[in-house]
C-alpha cells in the first residue's frame, strides 16, 4: 500500500472543527479518521466565480448555433424548406449533405446520424435534422422557426414490450432450464413479481454546452462540457474526416454529468463543428434547459419480471428474471447498460439456480443513454423489492433474509464468477441495521401500523380521512455494483496514464479523466503524491485536452479511482524507481529536481494490464463480469401523508464499501449526492410522455428534490480493498444510486402496507393503491 498523504492544504487551512466521515476498515474497530486531506483543487475557483465553464468563455467573432428538430416521432424526411421570404444570406444552414465523412455519431453501433438526411427516416420527435448559425442570438431566434420540414408520417412504436426491434439480448444461466424448474418445484414458496421503472433525467445544473473553433488548416478545436474527451475525438474524426491532430477536444469546467455528458456531447460537438467548418468561425452551441431535457438522453425505462423460489427459512433456491429495457430510438450505449442491468439483476445474493434473460428494444422516443448506475438501479430496485416481498410472505425480517443470502467470499455469481475477496455485503448490512436501529424502529412502526389497520383505513369512502394523518415507516435495501467496465471492457479500452518529470523539475500527471464535481483533480494527484512521497501540491494535473493527455478511457462506470487511480500509482512507482536508481540511497523527493536537471525529462506511460486471474467470455457471458464489486446498504425512514399520499424521506443511513476511501470527504459527498438522486428516482422524478414526446421538459415540471425535500443522510464508508490495484479502491460514484430507491419503497410499505412496484412512487400512485387496498 502506498503511504497515505496527509499534506496540509495550502490555500486555506482546514480547521479542526470539520467533522470527518466515519470510515470502517474490515477487522478494525469503528474509528473516526483524523488525518487532514487536501481541499478540492479547483474549489477556490468555483467558490469565487473564477472557474470558467463553457458558456463563460469568450471567442471574439463567434456565431451562435441552433438545432432544427423533427416534430414527428417517426416519419420519412422528404424535404427541408427554408422560408423563401427570408434572406438567408446572413446566416448558415447545415444539413446532412454538408457532412464530409460518415453521417454517424460514432459510439457502439452506427445507427444514429448527426442529421437526418433528406429521404431518411426520422426516429424520434426531437431528432436533429438541420443546423443554423447566425451572428447574433436575436437573428437565430427569429429564423429558427422559419425552416419547414416536409415529412411523411410512419407508424411509431412507443411500447417497449411491443417493439420487435432489439438492440441487444443476453441470457445468463447457472444451468439448464430443467434444473431451474426442478429447483422451483422443490421450493416452499414461489413468488412472482412485475416491476416497472420510468425515465430519469440526469439534470446536471449546467446544460450541455459546446464551442467549436476552426483553425486555419481545416482542423477543429472543441471546448465543451463533457465527460469523455476521446469519445468526442473519435466521433469528430469519423464524421468530419479529420486526423487525430486535426481534431482536438478540450474539456472545460463541467457542471455535472451523471452519465448525461458521456455520449451526448459527441452529437453536440459534431453539430457545432459542422457549423464552424461551414462558417469558418467559432460557433457556440449552448442548450437551454428546455432543449436539454427534451433532446438529450435519460435513464432507460424498464419492465422487470421476477419468479423466485425460496425455502421456508428464506434461502434462495431459484431466480428466473426477465428484463426489458427501452433503448429509445437509437442504440447509443444501450447494450452495455442492459448488460450491467442484467448482471446485477439477481441482487447481491447467492442462488444456485439462476436464469436472467434481458433484452433492449427500440421505441420512437429520444434515445436513452448513460446515467449513474447504468442499468443497475433499475434491476436492483426490482430485486430488492422482490426479496422484501418474500420476507414479508415468510414473516422474516428483511435484515434476516439478507443475512441468510448475501454473498460471502467463495460464493459464485450467476456468471460463474467466484468472489475470491473484497466481499463486504454482510458487513455493510450489519452496519446499516445497527446504525439505524433498524429492528427496533421497525417493531415500533409495525406496532403502529397494526393499530391503524385495526381502526380501518377510510371505511366507506376514499374521501374520508382517518384519525391519523401520518404514517411512519422504515425500509432496508442491499446492493452491489461491479467496479469498472463490464466484462472484457477494460481490456478493450487499453487505457494509458502517464506521470512525467519535466526538465523543469515539475511533476505532471496526465490522464483523460475529467473533473465534473466528483473530485478527479484532487484524488488522482493525491495518489501520485503518496506514491512519490511528495506534497500533493507538487503534482500538476494536466488539462483534459486530447493534444496533451493520453487516452486513459472515459470518465464513467466509477472507474476513475480504481482503474486510472491504479495506473497513476503504478506510473508514479516506476518513475520513482527509475529516478532513485540514478541516485542510489537517496529518496525521490530529495533528488528529483536534481535528476531533472541532469537527465532531462522522464515520462512513464503506464498501460492497462488485465487484473490477475480475471477473465470474462463475452460470447457465453461466463466468467468474471467485474474485477471486484462495491457493496452498499441503505436504511430509509419515511413519513407518508395518509390524506394525500405525499412521501417525506426523513433519514437515510447509507453504508458504502468503496475499497479505499481515497479522500473521505469527497467520497462521502459522492454517497450523499447519489443517495439523493436515488431518493428523487424513488419519489418524484418522472418523465411523462405523449406520443413519444416528453411533456415535462422544463425545470418547472421535471422536479428534483430541493434542500427541504432532501433527507438527512448519514454516511458510513467501509473499506474492503481490491487486491488487483495498488490502493484497493473500487469506485463510489454509482454504488449509492443502486440502493436508496428500494429502501425508500420498503419504507413506504412499512408505513402503509402497500408495495409500490413502479418508480417513481408518486402520491398519485400511492393514493390509488391505498384506495384499491381499502376497497379489496
Amino acid at each position: 500500500m502506498p503511504t497515505r498523504t496527509a499534506a496540509p492544504p495550502t490555500v486555506v487551512p482546514a480547521t479542526e472543527a470539520v467533522t470527518r466521515p466515519l470510515v470502517v476498515q474490515p477487522g478494525e474497530a469503528t474509528q473516526g479518521r483524523a488525518a487532514a486531506f487536501p481541499l478540492r483543487r479547483e474549489g477556490p475557483a468555483k467558490l469565487t466565480g473564477a472557474a470558467r465553464y463553457t458558456d463563460d468563455l469568450v471567442f471574439p467573432g463567434a456565431w451562435y448555433g441552433a438545432t432544427i428538430r423533427s416534430t414527428d416521432a417517426h416519419a420519412r424526411l422528404l424535404a427541408i424548406e427554408p422560408d423563401p421570404d427570408v434572406d438567408w444570406s446572413t446566416v448558415v444552414i447545415a444539413t446532412a449533405a454538408d457532412i464530409p465523412g460518415d453521417n454517424v455519431v460514432s459510439l457502439m453501433h452506427d445507427d444514429q446520424p448527426l442529421l437526418v438526411p433528406v429521404g431518411g427516416e426520422i426516429q424520434h420527435h426531437a431528432e436533429p435534422v438541420a443546423l443554423l448559425a447566425a451572428p447574433d442570438r436575436e437573428t437565430l431566434r427569429q429564423l429558427k422557426g422559419r425552416i419547414r420540414l416536409v415529412t411523411e408520417p410512419l407508424p411509431p412504436v412507443f411500447d417497449l414490450e411491443a417493439s420487435d426491434h432489439e438492440f441487444a439480448r443476453y441470457e445468463i444461466k447457472t444451468g439448464d432450464d430443467a434444473a431451474l424448474e426442478a429447483a422451483f418445484a422443490a421450493a416452499d414458496l414461489v413468488l412472482e413479481g412485475k416491476y416497472r421503472v420510468g425515465h430519469q433525467e440526469q439534470l446536471y445544473i449546467e446544460n450541455q454546452a459546446m464551442i467549436a473553433v476552426p483553425d486555419e488548416d481545416g482542423g477543429i478545436v472543441i471546448h465543451g462540457s463533457l465527460q469523455c474527451p476521446y469519445y468526442v475525438h473519435r466521433a469528430l474524426k469519423r464524421a468530419l474526416k479529420l486526423s487525430s491532430v486535426e481534431a482536438r477536444v478540450i474539456q472545460e469546467e463541467t457542471g455535472g454529468g451523471f452519465g448525461g455528458k458521456e455520449d451526448y456531447p459527441s452529437i453536440l460537438a459534431l453539430h457545432a463543428a459542422l457549423l464552424a467548418l461551414k462558417c469558418r468561425r467559432p460557433v457556440r452551441m449552448i442548450y437551454e434547459r428546455h432543449e436539454d431535457i427534451a433532446a438529450t438522453t435519460k435513464r432507460h425505462p424498464a419492465v422487470i419480471r421476477h419468479r423466485t423460489g425460496v425455502r421456508r427459512d428464506g434461502t434462495l433456491l431459484a431466480q428466473d428474471i426477465d428484463v426489458v429495457m427501452d433503448g429509445g430510438a437509437y442504440c447509443t450505449l444501450t447494450p452495455v447498460v442492459l448488460s450491467r442491468g442484467a448482471l446485477h439483476a439477481g441482487g447481491p445474493y447467492r442462488c444456485p439456480n439462476v436464469r436472467i434473460r434481458a433484452r433492449a428494444t427500440r421505441t420512437n422516443t429520444p434515445p436513452n443513454g448513460a446515467m449513474r448506475g447504468f442499468g443497475a438501479p433499475q434491476t436492483e430496485f426490482a430485486a430488492e423489492t422482490q426479496l422484501n416481498r418474500i420476507a414479508e410472505r415468510l414473516d422474516l425480517s428483511p435484515a434476516v433474509i439478507r443475512e441468510r443470502n448475501a454473498y460471502r467470499v467463495g460464493d459464485a455469481t450467476p456468471t460463474g464468477q467466484v468472489l475470491r475477496e473484497s466481499v463486504a455485503a454482510e458487513q455493510v448490512l450489519r452496519l446499516a441495521v445497527d446504525m439505524s436501529s433498524y429492528e427496533s424502529v421497525r417493531r415500533e412502526t409495525g406496532r403502529r401500523a397494526a393499530e391503524r389497520r385495526g381502526v380501518g383505513a377510510v371505511p366507506g369512502s376514499p374521501l374520508r380521512t382517518t384519525d391519523e394523518r401520518h404514517a411512519g415507516g422504515i425500509g432496508l435495501a442491499l446492493a452491489w455494483h461491479g467496479a469498472g467496465f463490464t466484462g472484457s471492457g477494460e481490456v478493450h479500452l487499453a487505457s494509458v496514464a502517464s506521470v512525467e518529470l519535466g526538465a523543469d523539475g515539475l511533476i505532471r500527471l496526465l490522464t483523460a479523466q475529467t473533473e465534473m464535481g466528483q473530485g478527479t483533480k484532487t484524488i488522482l494527484p493525491l495518489l501520485v503524491a503518496g506514491e512519490l512521497g511528495v506534497p500533493v501540491e507538487w503534482i500538476e494535473y494536466a488539462a483534459q485536452d486530447t493534444a496533451e493527455v493520453p487516452d486513459s478511457g472515459p470518465t464513467v462506470a466509477s472507474r476513475t479511482a480504481m482503474v486510472v487511480g491504479g495506473l497513476s500509482i503504478l506510473a508514479a512507482r516506476c518513475l520513482k524507481a527509475e529516478v532513485e536508481a540514478r541516485h542510489p540511497g537517496a529518496p525521490f523527493h530529495e533528488v528529483f529536481r536534481q535528476d531533472a536537471v541532469q537527465h532531462g525529462p522522464t515520462r512513464i506511460d503506464q498501460h492497462f494490464e488485465p487484473y490477475p486471474g480475471v477473465a470474462f467470455d463475452d460470447a457465453t457471458y461466463r466468467g468474471d463480469a467485474y474485477p471486484a464489486f462495491g457493496w452498499a446498504a441503505a436504511v430509509a425512514t419515511v413519513d407518508v401523508d395518509l390524506d394525500t399520499g405525499e412521501v417525506t424521506v426523513g433519514d437515510v443511513v447509507a453504508v458504502d464499501d468503496v475499497g479505499q476511501a481515497i479522500h473521505p470527504i469527497l467520497c462521502e459527498g459522492q454517497v450523499e449526492g447519489g443517495t439523493l438522486q436515488a431518493v428523487g428516482y424513488a419519489t418524484i422524478e418522472e418523465i411523462k410522455l405523449a406520443d413519444g414526446r416528453y411533456l415535462n421538459d422544463r425545470l418547472a415540471t421535471y422536479l428534483i428534490p430541493t434542500a427541504l425535500d432532501a433527507p438527512r443522510i448519514h454516511t458510513i464508508l467501509v473499506e474492503a480493498p481490491f487486491s488487483g490495484v495498488p490502493h484497493g479502491a473500487k469506485g463510489v460514484g454509482e454504488l449509492p444510486m443502486d440502493v436508496a430507491a428500494p429502501a425508500v419503497v420498503a419504507a413506504i410499505h412499512d408505513a402503509i402496507g402497500i408495495w409500490m412496484t413502479e418508480l417513481p412512487a408518486t402520491p398519485e400512485k400511492i393514493l390509488a393503491a391505498m384506495h384499491a387496498g381499502a376497497a379489496a
Partner: protein, 291 residues
C-alpha cells in the same frame, strides 16, 4: 437568449395610465411587469409569445404598502410575498395569507413575486387566489377612465383571463376582516418548495356563537382544479348553517368530489386532484370539529 421587448418606465401612476391608453389606441397596451416572476419567463419565448412591449411598475410607489383601514386589510399590488410574510398586520389579521406566501416558490420568488402579479397572471394554480375568493376580497383597478372595484369572484373570467381591461392596472387588494371569521389554507404540491400546486384550497367560515353551533358565510375556494380559481358553491351550501361533524364532513367531501371537474395534466391526474381536494377538506373539517 430571450427577447428584449421595449419597456416603458413611468415614474407616476398618471404616466402609466397614459402609456397604457396610448398603447391600446395604437393597437396593443404594454404588459405591466412588477416582480417579473411570470413575465420574465415569458420573454424566453418558450412558453408563449413574448409581449411586444412592457410597462415597468417598479417606480410606482402608489402600488406599495400594507395597511389596515376600518376593518379592511389593504395590500398594494406590488406587495411581495416576503412583505406579506414579514407583515405584522397580515400575521395578526390573516395568518392564512402568510402561510400561503411561505409556500410560494422559495426566497428568490418570494422576494420578487407580488400579489398583484398573482392576480394579473390569473393562473388557475395561483396560490393566493383561493384566499382572495374565500375572503370576499375586492380588487381596486385604475386607468385613464378612472378607478373601479372588482369583486374577486368576478375577476377571473376564463383560463388566464381577467376582468382587468388592457389599459388598467391593479392598484390594491382590499380584504375585509370581519370578526369571528376563520380562514384555513392548504396547498398540495409535488415537493416542499419551488412547487406549483396540484390542489390549493382555502376554507373560510363564521362561527358567531363559537363552539361550532352552526357555521355561516362559508366560503370554499380552490385552485388547480378548473380553468380558473373557483368557489365550490355546492359544497359551501352543505356547510352553510352546519357544524363540522363527521357526518357533515363526509357529505361535504362527497359533494366536493362530485362538484369538481379537474383535468389530467403534467403535474397530476384528475382523479388525484378530486380525491385529494375532498380529503383535504375532510381534514380541515375534522380539525375544525376537533374529532
Amino acid at each position: 437568449m430571450p427577447a428584449e421587448p421595449p419597456i416603458d418606465i413611468p415614474r407616476r401612476l398618471f404616466d402609466a395610465y397614459e402609456l397604457l391608453a396610448a398603447g391600446l389606441a395604437a393597437g396593443s397596451a404594454p404588459v405591466p411587469i412588477a416582480g417579473g416572476t411570470d413575465l420574465m419567463v415569458q420573454i424566453t419565448g418558450e412558453l408563449r409569445e413574448p409581449p411586444a412591449r412592457m410597462l415597468d411598475l417598479s417606480r410606482l410607489d402608489e402600488l406599495r404598502g400594507i395597511a389596515l383601514d376600518r376593518g379592511v386589510l389593504v395590500l398594494g399590488a406590488r406587495t411581495t410575498y416576503t412583505e406579506i410574510r414579514r407583515s405584522t398586520l397580515c400575521r395578526e389579521h390573516l395568518p392564512a395569507l402568510v402561510e400561503c406566501a411561505a409556500t410560494i416558490g422559495a426566497a428568490q420568488i418570494q422576494n420578487r413575486g407580488t400579489l398583484g402579479g398573482n392576480l394579473a397572471n390569473a393562473s388557475p394554480a395561483g396560490d393566493t387566489l383561493p384566499i382572495l375568493l374565500a375572503t370576499d376580497a375586492t380588487i381596486l383597478v385604475g386607468g385613464q377612465r378612472g378607478e373601479r372595484r372588482i369583486a374577486a369572484g368576478d375577476f377571473f373570467t376564463g383560463y388566464r383571463q381577467t376582468a382587468l381591461a388592457p389599459d388598467e392596472l391593479i392598484l390594491h387588494v382590499e380584504i375585509p376582516l370581519p370578526t369571528g371569521r376563520h380562514v384555513r389554507f392548504r396547498k398540495v404540491g409535488t415537493r416542499r418548495a419551488q412547487a406549483i400546486s396540484k390542489v390549493v384550497m382555502t376554507l373560510a367560515w363564521h362561527d358567531p356563537r363559537g363552539g361550532g353551533a352552526g357555521w355561516s358565510d362559508v366560503r370554499l375556494a380552490l385552485g388547480s382544479v378548473a380553468p380558473t380559481p373557483i368557489r365550490a358553491r355546492a359544497t359551501e351550501r352543505v356547510l352553510e348553517g352546519a357544524s363540522p361533524t363527521p357526518e357533515v364532513a363526509d357529505r361535504a367531501a362527497e359533494t366536493l368530489a362530485g362538484e369538481l371537474s379537474p383535468i389530467d395534466d403534467v403535474r397530476s391526474t384528475a382523479e388525484y386532484r378530486r380525491t385529494v381536494a375532498a380529503r383535504v377538506l375532510h381534514r380541515l373539517l375534522r380539525e375544525a370539529g376537533g374529532w
